[in-house]
């Protein structure tokens, strides 16, 4: 049931922010709609760890500044290659992912794509590997050195041993 409460609060917050109507009747209708949609989503079984990954969602602020810094750095790197395309030394590399949930793996692959210079081409859920296309050797090294893997793992709930 916790997912229903969280999704209702999130959606009502979004409604409050976007509607701009603050009369009691409309507020009540908005809250009721948010609750109704959440209950329907629950009934459809889409409010699970994949549909609403609460852990990852709430821990996201921990890595926001870091990811923005990484994005800015690699933007400059790619611009340097665009100015001199002969510097491009594209490669396909395999990155091992330490995440143990589907949502965590997707977050890792999305972070790789979000930093320019590296694009995740294929995600292998069985072997926990992501095949990455990197624009130069430096971009590949930055992805394979495990620093991003560690940051994304911070977002996940720690794995209960034996589970």
């Amino acid at each position: 049931m916790r997912s229903v409460y969280v999704s209702t609060i999130l959606m009502f917050g979004l409604w409050l922010a976007l509607s701009g109507h603050y009369t009691p009747l409309l507020l009540a209708l908005g809250a009721l709609s948010a609750l109704g949609v959440s209950l329907l989503a629950k009934r459809m079984n889409v409010l699970d760890e994949e549909g609403l990954p609460m852990g990852i969602l709430f821990r996201l602020p921990r890595v926001t500044l870091w990811i923005i810094w990484e994005i800015l750095k690699s933007n400059l790197g790619v611009i340097r290659v665009i100015i001199a395309p002969s510097k491009a030394a594209p490669q396909l590399v395999t990155v091992s992912a330490g995440q143990h949930t589907a949502a965590g793996l997707v977050t890792h692959a999305n972070f790789i794509t979000l930093t320019p210079g590296t694009v995740s081409v294929q995600v292998d859920e069985d072997r926990n590997e992501i095949i990455v296309h990197g624009l130069t050797q430096e971009f590949c090294d930055a992805t394979t050195d495990g620093s991003m893997d560690a940051k994304v793992s911070l977002l996940e709930k720690r794995k209960v041993s034996g589970a």
Partner: protein
């Protein structure tokens, strides 16, 4: 008055840098070698370019409702644009498009194996 001026100046710089980023991204789309490399150029447009423009608009926004909407747009872009980029890369990979590969600084650039 002073603070407002400084914020406006930062906003102008951020907007200009974002516009430059979009320009370089478009240049990258034209200049880089193959479909996978061009995707990195497009990556600049929807991270650095769009991000800096949104940040500039955020500083210049007159009301908090506008700011909130800009933040929401930023979050949505951060979620959807890598997903779309990955979809294109994955489609190219599975369609058998072989990327150009250059393994060492001196090696010639050549068509690589598609794993």
């Amino acid at each position: 008055m002073m603070v407002e001026n400084i914020v406006t100046i930062i906003a102008i710089f951020s907007l200009s840098a974002g516009a430059l980023g979009v320009l370089f991204g478009a240049l990258g789309l034209l200049r880089l070698g193959d479909v996978y490399q061009r995707m990195h150029g497009a990556g600049i447009i929807d991270t650095g370019g769009a991000g800096l423009i949104l940040f500039g608009l955020l500083l210049a926004s007159p009301e908090w409702t506008v700011s909130l909407r800009l933040v929401l747009i930023g979050l949505l872009l951060g979620l959807t644009s890598p997903t779309a980029t990955h979809a294109i890369a994955r489609a190219a990979h599975f369609a058998g498009v072989k990327p150009l590969i250059k393994t060492s600084p001196d090696a010639p650039i050549e068509k690589g194996a598609n794993e």
